[in-house]
Symmetry: C2
Subunit: 207 residues, 2 copies
């Protein structure tokens, strides 16, 4: 299998290529990609060669070709349909962002248990009752769910969505989730990000 | 220096210890810590021993003692004063969360350039004009800043805050930031999290 660090670099290449194509740039060298991304030119050439994308000596890589290749590798050749569970602060911010600024992911609906939120909208996206999540997930063949409920509701929420076909979870709740075999969970823990940053910044002075 | 993966585990231990102390649990074994965190008991013992925290055979670790030790290691013995730049969707969600649910970090103010937002509040926290950020950061000795502005304003924002004393940046804008020597930047890129999750979930079917 491919290493985790390579997989994390692919979305960065994709973002840079999207920006270049918007500016009608046809070719890009690994040196320029290095400047934009912060990875070494050698690392970039190695990553892309691994996936069978070779540049032409002196000219570099064709941006449109490379973008198509990376989209296929990540699995974004079809728009990914996703739902968000928890229409609170973070769920609202993610819904607004994904439905306006992220072309590869389509937030189809948001689910919540709070009667004050059910029936409302976040921009054009409806907030439904969590009780409707099972049938919605099955009817639309939803495979990816984003969890923005409090830690104490996260496990029951994940049990519910995986039971009805979800196989990939982006979890923001600060708790370890148990999932069935074959379900992928990525934890995006903002508190850990902030505290490890604080470690490095205070480590500088004291150590 | 300590490896990155150890540093990322410390906030998880801290969160578990906080929950245990709230439930008046005095002692915890590495086995129970393993169950709550997902790390192996052996890894936990190794991490804690590295920092000079040893459990008693058969009894485990004293939760209050261990918590104090980890707080000192991360550098949270004093509340960390921070500011958020960008009072949009994500900035609002982060402000609401940090000022209510995160005891270790204090969001003192939010800064924005949009006249419709300046002068408003997010809960109890004031939104000031970005022009006031330099003097505010210097007066309060702010070392940590969270960046939630669009990608094209991120570099100028970071230049501004680092010029006036900020040395640690949690960046949510999808762009590589250039910072002076000695400034720590952590990129919390939610799009990369989502796309690498999609890679793993689609990889399952196709490969
Ligand atoms: N906002 C942040 O910046 C931030 C930072 C770090 C971690 N988190 C984590 O992200 C999660 C969301 O945070 P938030 O700030 O948006 O919280 P929030 O309280 O604003 O929103 C949580 C939402 O989940 C809903 N909910 C609760 N139980 C539910 C259930 N069983 N089914 C469906 N909906 C349910 C609530 O009604 C509420 O609308 C939390 O776990 C939090 O710890 C958030
Ligand atoms: N919301 C999400 O879920 C999400 C997901 C992935 C990435 N991001 C990234 O996080 C950042 C914030 O996203 P958002 O959804 O909150 O955007 P947003 O447009 O809702 O908010 C951005 C805010 O920044 C302010 N701003 C712009 N330039 C500024 C400057 N020079 N100084 C001070 N304030 C300035 C704007 O007035 C606005 O209030 C963006 O870079 C975005 O790409 C957000």
């Amino acid at each position: 299998a491919i290493s985790k660090s390579v997989i994390k670099r692919l979305p960065v290449y994709l973002r840079i290529l999207d920006q270049l194509i918007e500016r009608r740039v046809d070719m890009i060298s690994s040196k320029e990609l290095s400047k934009e991304s912060g990875f070494t030119a050698e690392q970039i050439r190695k990553d892309l060669a691994y996936f069978g994308a070779f540049g032409t000596r002196g000219a570099g890589y064709n941006t449109a070709y490379l973008r198509e290749k990376i989209i296929k590798i990540i699995g974004l050749d079809e728009t990914i349909k996703t739902v968000i569970i928890g229409a609170g602060n973070l769920g609202t911010a993610l819904t607004r962002y994904n439905s306006t600024k992220n072309p590869y992911v389509d937030v189809l609906a948001v689910f919540d248990q709070d009667p004050r939120l059910i029936g409302k909208k976040i921009d054009e996206i409806n907030i439904y009752s969590i009780d409707e999540a099972p049938s919605f997930i099955e009817e639309h063949g939803i495979k990816v769910a984003i969890i923005t409920v409090p830690a104490m509701s996260a496990q029951e929420t994940v049990d519910l969505v995986t039971k009805h076909g979800v196989s990939a979870i982006l979890n923001f709740a600060p708790i370890k989730l148990n999932v069935p075999e074959g379900v992928h969970v990525h934890n995006a823990d903002l508190t850990i990000e902030l505290q490890s940053l604080i470690y490095y910044s205070s480590a500088e002075d004291e150590r």
